[in-house]
Each structure stands twice: as C-alpha cells, then as structure tokens.
C-alpha cells in the first residue's frame, strides 16, 4: 500500500531525511525506532503532509497514487492517519463539532451523504468505548484541558472514527502511564485488521510489548540503517542505540 523511495526532506533548509526506503503492506505493523533527532517524527510529518517540511527528493506512493502531490486533507481522505506526538488544542471547538466536520469531509470526498446527527452520535458512542473516553471529554473543546493520557486516547478515538488504511502513531507512548498505555494499545490492536497497516514510531521497546510489530526499523541520521523482526527491538532495549550508531558512524 505504501512505497517510500529515497525520500529526502528538509525543514528551514536543513535536511533531516536523507534517503528513506520503506514498503508497507496491508495487515503489517512496522515499528520505527531510533535515537532522538534521528528523523522519526519528521518522517511522520512528511507522510501526513505538514507544510513546514519540504520534500527535496524521492517519492511516496500510496495505493498507486502519488502521496506527495496530495493536500494534507486529501491524504487523510485517502486513509492516512497521524496520531500526533503533541495533539494540538483548539479552544472553542467541541470534539463533537470537530469530529463531525472530519467525518463529513471524508464522506464528501467519497461521494457519500453526510451522516445524520443520530447516526453520528451513535458512532461517537461506539468508538469512544474503544479507548474508554468518557462522554464529558467528547463534549469539551478539542484537547483543551486534557491530560497527557487523555490526549493520546483522544487521538486513538479519532483514529477509530476515521478508520484509516494506514495509521502512523508518533511517539504515542510518550507521557503515558501504564494504564493509559494499556488502554491506548488495546484500542490500536482492536482496530487492526488485514486491510490496514500501522507504523509505530517510538523511542522505547515498551510500547512494542503491547503492539506487536512485524518489522522493526532503526532510523539514524535520516536513514533506515537496520531492519529486522521483533527481536531487533529487544536487542535495542538491551544494548541501547550506541552499537548501531557506532556501526553506522564507522
């Protein structure tokens, strides 16, 4: 579904991604790990189309379409979902209105009628349960006054609502206590199918105890320097990133 070839990207003229190659197929879970500053979050931003980043070379194909040519909202409509490391607060905009706008924009893109208020609220209720998000949170402004854990649960809730084909979880485990981590991971696992794929970006192995990856990639200095199975994550947990850095730098 996703074919990334030789992807280079820069922010403010500084090159962060220096040639990424990655292929993701439906049903797969890919973990992207790496030390701080290796470009993990940049990769997720670039795939989602954050205008702050400039793609300087390479290509990304998503179900045969040129992803890089699409606007961020069309990428979303095509089924790309980014769970933000730092979900943005939007004061004054209720989660209900926000999600309704999102769902109906997606439906419009697919030439479907807008969802009726009743059906929409029913859907909200169902999906909320997946991440144990209570009704009060759903009635509040987008992420405003949410705790760290609530924000991350809210991200997975939105993922459940939008039913993406490819979910990118950017450091979803950061700032989560063990209970929130469990809830979030359960939510992600519940939404997994052989029709969709997940890219889990994380610094630590911890999250991968809950969301089992099929492939693990190590990102360092803007390149994937090592790929392997789940055992690679365990190795990293044990030995840290130093040995990889050394391998690459030498």
């Amino acid at each position: 579904m996703l074919i990334i070839k030789n992807l280079h990207a820069a922010i403010n003229g500084k090159e962060i991604l220096k040639g990424i190659d990655l292929t993701v197929k439906p049903g797969e879970v890919h973990a992207i790990m790496g030390p701080n500053g290796s470009g993990k979050s940049t990769l997720s931003s670039v795939l989602a189309g954050n205008p702050a980043f400039e793609v300087t070379d390479g290509s990304v194909e998503f179900y045969g379409k040129d992803l890089l040519a699409m606007s961020p909202e069309d990428r979303s409509h095509e089924g790309i979902f980014l769970s933000f490391q730092y979900p943005v607060e939007i004061p004054g905009v209720s989660m209900v209105n926000f999600m309704r706008a999102a769902i109906n924009a997606q439906r419009k893109y697919r030439n479907e009628e807008p969802l009726s208020a009743t059906d929409f609220l029913k859907m909200m209720r169902e999906k909320r349960a997946i991440v144990e998000l209570d009704n009060k949170l759903a009635g509040r402004s987008v992420n405003e006054g949410f705790s760290g854990g609530e924000k991350k649960r809210n991200e997975i809730f939105q993922m459940a609502m939008l039913q993406p084909r490819l979910s990118i979880l950017d450091e979803t485990d950061s700032g989560l206590d063990i209970d929130a981590l469990r809830i979030v991971s359960q939510g992600v696992n519940q939404l997994k199918s052989d029709q969709n794929a997940t890219i889990v970006i994380t610094h630590y192995q911890r999250l991968l105890d809950y969301i089992a990856p099929d492939f693990v990639h190590v990102l360092y200095k803007g390149r994937i320097v090592k790929s392997g199975g789940p055992e690679l994550a365990l190795e990293l947990e044990e030995k840290g990133y130093e040995w990889i850095k050394k391998e690459v730098d030498d």
């Binding site: 205008p51 909202e73 409509h77 979900p87 939007i90 706008a101």
Partner: protein, 501 residues
C-alpha cells in the same frame, strides 16, 4: 460620543512577529480574492431628491413625509446644531473626506399603492429578499417573526401588526408612528440620544428617513422576536434610520436588526440612531447582524457606518442587552451603550467584530453606572484579517452615587494575518470606592499547528478557520436568538472565506 482618544493602552499588532511563515501570506492572498456574496442591485423605481443638504432639503424631507410641525422643528434645530459641528476624528479610523453636499438625503421606492398583502409587493423586491434568504412568507409561516422590512428609506411591509396590536404592542415604521402615535413619539424622541449628542446624531436627527418604532405596554412580554431587515438600495443615497424602542414597566422585548447591502462603487454613508428606554423592571434585548458592503479588496467603495446606539435603563431593575455581529462596512464607528440610571439595573454588550481586507472598525460600548447596585458585562471578540484595523473602545464610568457598581469586561482579539491590527482602548472612570471593575484581555492567532491538525483529520483549511472562528465567537453567538445565530455563523464563514491558505 464624548470619548477622547487617549493612549493606545494595549496596542497589538502582529506585523513584527518573527514566527509568521508563509501560511499567513497565503491567508491574505486568499482573503483578498474573496468577493462580497450579497452584491446585487434591485431594479425598482426610486424617488430620489437631488443631492445636497440645506434647510430647504430638511423641510422637503419633512414635507414628503407629511410630518407635523413639532417634528419639522426638531429636524431644523438638529440641522442648525449640526452646522456648528465638525466630524469627529478621535477614533482609530482613517476616514476619507465626506462631501455631505454630494449625498442625496431621501430615496423612497415609488409608491404604486400601499401593499395589503405579500402579493401586492413588488416582485423585484420580493426576489431581493429571496436572494437574501429572508422571504417574508417563510418568515411569517415558519419562524413566527414579525418583519418590518425597510428597503431604502420607507417601510414596505409590516407583518403581524394586528396580532401584536391585540397585546397593545406597537411595532411599525417610524413614519407610521409619527402619524398614529404622535404623543408617544414626541415624548420619547431624542430622550436617550439628543440631537446635540454628536455630529452624526445631529445629522440623523435632521434628515432621518425612516426606521422602526416599538412600544411594549406595561406588563407585556412580547411573544415574538421583532425583526427589521435594513437594506441600502438606491445608489449614492445616504441612509439615516431611526429606531426608538420603549419598554414600559415589567415588559420584555427582543429586537433583531440585520442588514446586507448591494455592491457599489461609491461610498455610502449610513448614520443611524437607535434609542432604547427600559422602564421599571423592563428588559430589552437588541441583536444586530451587520453585513453592509465592505468595499473591494483594495478598499474601494463600501459603507461608512456611523451609528449612535444607546439604551437608557430608566427604571429600577431594568435591563438592556446589546448583541452585535459586525462583519460588513468599510468603516464602522459604533458604540452601543447603556446608561444605568435605575437602581439594580443591568447593561450588557456582546460583540463580534470581523474585519477583513481594508476594513476598519472602531467599536465598543459605554456603560454609565448612575444607579446603585448596577451591573454591566462587556464581552468583545475582535477578528482581524487581511490589512484591516479592528479596535475595541470601551468606557466604564461609575458615578459618585453609584454604590456597589459591578463591571466585568472581557476583550479578546483573534488575528488571521500579520498585516492586520487589533487594538483595545479601555477607559475607566471610577468615582465610587465600592465599585468592582474587572478587565480581561487576550490576543491570539490561528496558528499553523491548529490548521494542520484539522487538515490531517480531513478538514479543509477554510472549514477549519470557520470552526475555529465560530468557536472563538461562540460566547457571543450564543446570545443571539436562534434564528439569527445560524445566519450569523454563516456570515462569519462567508466573510472570512478563503482567509487561510
């Protein structure tokens, strides 16, 4: 208006914010390419008197309307006073010279016959209303609103009059009121806004064309929202509306004023007066959605809107509440105010003012606390885009006798571009130690992170701005009657359409 321009206490502008990136540039470009959605001209025969203003013109207006001598007298005194005045320049506005002799001071749709039912109304006119989405039939059938539709300067159709009459509620055009209720009009005309009040009040008092008159008798709770749609229609014609609302003891009324205007090249002057009197325990809620033609993206054309609106809480425990959504006009100069004379009286001002392109707005309120235990609330939400200038100007005055006065002011600015300006000029004049006066102010900008977050969820930038802006203005929008809130929300979105790239 006696507010003097003082120090620019919290001058906010984003022009030197280093964090602004390309998105803001796009915002501006997109904004400036959006056209005024209500630009069309109705082709109706109009009776216009030649341009220019002198005593003869004042007499001619009065004569055309068949007014009694006392009213002509009022006009002439106002005109004599106006001649001694100069246009005020204390507002944070760049006002071009206005040639008051180049304006025609009276335009009325030519009367074929006074309409008895909707079928008698000029089809052209009706289709204009239809284009605006305010067809009278719909209004009558569905929403239960009595509509006093003002087209240019003469009322065309007043609905529900009979039903209101059963309760003793008077809701009619100002001209009709002069004919049918001369004593009421004579008693209250100019009793809240004197013709000596300011330059534009004097001008309006001399040449006012028509407007609305409302009287709610003692103990009557008006069962429906009273609504007037104003609309400037004749080219090069000043519009001088005059509204007088009197709420007698223990009465309640909610009044709606909304306006749109067709596209024009010439600037058009609008100087209205609204006077409200609330007697013992009476409550008046006055809501406005203002969408006059704002001019093109370069600032050519557009309405000059110089309005004097004031409410007098005459009786104890009375309440006057102003709610306004201001999106139009090239220049807005408007300070709906409350004089809290009665003990325990309450004044409220809720405002959303949107400026885009080259629009300028200097708007706010005055809360004058005279009675004891008087309370006032001010919530002002400014939204600036493009190259516009948006100022809040407010005065809270507590007189020596106004024990235990209480004021809360909240004044927020939202910026959508880095070329616009948002300014607040809060004045406080507190002469009583028991007063509690609060002022809060914030400035924010729609940032790229918020937009990208929405985009990632599939929401277009345009819709995201609409969501955020309506969310920001929600506190004020919630104060609008429901029928109006929908229209106002739509307006906010239309006004800022394409305002973020």
């Amino acid at each position: 208006m006696d507010m003097k321009k003082e120090n620019d206490s919290t001058h906010k502008t984003l022009s030197d914010n280093p964090n602004d990136t390309g998105t803001s540039e796009k915002i501006i470009q997109e904004v400036t390419s959006s056209d005024y959605k209500y630009g069309f001209v109705t082709d109706i025969e109009t009776d216009i008197i030649p341009t220019g203003l002198n005593e003869e013109v004042v007499r001619l207006i009065s004569a055309k309307k068949g007014e009694p001598d006392w009213l002509l007298d009022f006009r002439l005194k106002a005109f004599a006073h106006w001649k001694t005045l100069e246009m005020p320049h204390w507002a944070h506005l760049d006002i071009p010279d206005i040639d008051y002799q180049a304006i025609s001071y009276y335009a009325a749709p030519k009367k074929k016959e006074s309409p008895k039912s909707l079928n008698d109304i000029d089809p052209e006119l009706r289709s204009t209303f239809n284009k605006l989405g305010i067809s009278l039939e719909e209004q009558m059938k569905l929403s239960g609103i009595a509509v006093d539709a003002v087209m240019d300067s003469v009322s065309v159709k007043t609905t529900f009059k009979e039903k209101l009459a059963e309760l003793g509620v008077i809701f009619c055009s100002f001209s009709e009121a002069v004919k049918d209720y001369p004593n009421l009009v004579r008693q209250y005309l100019g009793s809240v806004v004197s013709y000596r009040d300011n330059f534009f009040a004097a001008l309006n008092s001399a040449v006012f064309s028509d407007g609305s008159f409302v009287y709610i008798p003692k103990g009557v709770r008006c069962p429906m929202e009273l609504s007037t749609y104003f609309r400037i229609n004749a080219a090069n014609t000043g519009q001088f509306e005059r509204t007088l609302i009197v709420a007698d003891d223990d009465s309640y009324v909610s009044y709606l004023e909304g306006c749109t205007a067709p596209m024009r090249d010439e600037n058009q002057l609008h100087a209205a007066i609204v006077e409200i009197r609330a007697h013992e325990r009476a409550e008046v809620k006055y809501s406005t959605v203002q969408n006059w033609y704002p001019g093109d993206k370069e600032g050519r054309g557009g309405i000059y809107n110089f309005v004097t609106k004031r409410g007098l809480c005459k009786g104890d425990h009375s309440k006057i509440s102003w709610t306004q959504v201001e999106t139009g006009s090239a220049i807005t100069w408007k300070y709906p105010s409350c004089i809290l004379a009665g003990d325990n009286s309450t004044g409220e001002f809720y405002s959303v003012a949107v400026t885009n392109n080259r629009q300028q707005a200097d708007t706010g309120t005055k809360m004058i606390h005279l009675g004891k235990n008087t309370r006032s609330t001010i919530v002002s939400k400014g939204i600036s885009a493009g190259y516009s200038q948006n100022s809040y100007r407010g005065l809270v005055r507590v007189s020596p006798d106004a024990d235990n006065a209480r004021n809360y002011t909240q004044c927020d600015s939202l910026l959508l571009s880095d070329h616009c300006g948002a300014h607040t000029f809060p004045y406080m004049d507190i002469k009583n130690d028991t007063a509690v006066v609060e002022h809060e102010a914030t400035t924010s900008k729609i940032n790229e992170d918020q937009i990208f977050y929405c985009n990632q969820r599939g929401i277009s930038t345009e819709e995201a701005v609409g969501l955020i802006v309506n969310g920001y203005a929600k506190e004020v929008m919630n104060k609008l009657p429901m029928e109006f809130a929908v229209e106002a929300q739509k307006l906010l979105q239309i006004t800022l359409e394409g305002s973020v790239g």
